[in-house]
Assembly symmetry: C2
DNA sequence: ACCTGAACACCGTTCAAGT
DNA sequence: ACCTGAACACCGTTCAAGT
């Protein structure tokens, strides 16, 4: 609906209903994803949505990778930036959780993770927040970066695997996933615990345990802090 | 080179040099991946490698997803199964590390993670080992599953992001990644720590910190064990 | 500058035949 | 049973032209 915002030109002639712009492209892309899932988002499909030639897109966007980054970028930019707790450890936990929240509900995240980095401009403030909190906790610089990376890996894996599961459930809700067949053919003598759990596996693995795992990860890092000497800024918990 | 092993039929006529089989297909697929990277592995490319019609493949393999699973399956099956430590906590750490080792060096892992589950038959013994060790540590059943999932998410994310980085380095080693540009345009007043780290970022994030993060994650779970009452099987560390 | 048309070099998969 | 040939419905992107 709305047109250019940061673009160089506005609409030149009143007759034209909507001059093509990066913003309009991203809006249309988001519309397609919302309606048909991210599997349907292709340059050609997007051009059809905008009633233009596929090649017209390449005048406003370098390539498909940049389009995906721009999608994440706009999504992240429009998100509120809540104030974080004062206590360093609580702040670190909140910032790490925020990294998850910013990236959640991005069906195209998988494609971004397999093509490039998630360090898009509008995500950088979250990374900054994680690093700041980690340093405030008393971690050394390289430890703080290591902690951030561990959090990013955990978060990326959680989101990716969750997205994949959801997509599978939505796509072929009739046929059971491959996992079910693998569990069914399992032998109790070689895989006793998995066999015993096979029935409950779908229920057990569909719960949202992101928060608990994240807390465990951070607690593990805190442990190294408490064990070592530096009493830089010891929070309560 | 070698032909069918678990297939129903061997070679019928001596004249034929190699009867097409699932094994031969997977071998050829692995050959393509090793030589040209997993980006080049398509059904059509694979058929060309085997000098057959693309459709001939579909007689031995359901679809591309199954092919990828079979690739992981064969890779995992041929891996040695080392004996694990006696101490439950050390055993859990070793088993979790094993999950990583089994999945490492699988360039197509990203495609598996975004299409299906990594619970292929030959990986199940690792999952079984993680669950066994977690239960031996004294975790309740649902806690053990939660722990396994956290480990799987962390491992999946680490491998995926590492693979993506490596692919990028190999593909366009000339142009800097998007991340570099994002870091370069950063302002010190809004992102002080990231700005200060920008120079060292590539070095800091190219280190292999999988092990440290995994240990932190597990330590965090152990903490909940030590805090609670159940003194089921308290290991030393 | 911004867009079109035609083309290149691909995809996964279905369907109807062949032997 | 196992394989081929032709086709369907797509891809991302380049290149040369148009206005």
């Amino acid at each position: 609906m709305r047109s250019s915002e940061a673009g160089t030109t506005g609409r030149k002639r009143m007759g034209r209903p909507s001059q093509l712009s990066q913003e309009a492209i991203i809006e249309a892309a988001q519309r397609i994803i919302d309606a048909e899932g991210d599997g349907s988002l292709s340059m050609r499909r997007l051009a059809r949505e905008l009633s233009i030639t596929p090649m017209a897109l390449y005048h406003h966007v370098r390539d498909r990778d940049q389009l995906l980054r721009l999608l994440l970028e706009t999504k992240a930019r429009n998100l509120p930036r809540p104030s974080l707790p004062e206590d360093p450890r609580e702040r670190l936990t909140a910032a790490a959780q925020l990294l998850h929240d910013v990236l959640a509900d991005c069906p195209f995240l998988g494609e971004i993770l397999t093509s490039d980095d998630l360090m898009t401009a509008s995500c950088l403030w979250v990374i900054e927040a994680v690093l700041e909190a980690a340093l405030a906790c008393g971690f050394a610089v390289d430890e703080a970066v290591g902690l951030y990376r561990a959090v990013a890996h955990y978060t990326g894996g959680e989101l990716l695997i969750r997205l994949t599961r959801e997509r599978h459930l939505a796509a072929h809700r009739d046929r059971p996933p491959y996992r079910a067949r693998a569990l069914a053919t399992l032998q109790p003598q070689t895989h006793p615990r998995l066999c015993a759990l096979a029935d409950r596996w779908p229920a057990l693995t569909s719960r949202d345990t992101h928060r608990a795992g994240l807390q465990a990860l951070l607690d593990g890092f805190f442990r190294t802090l408490d064990a070592g000497g530096a009493p830089a800024a010891a929070g309560p918990v």
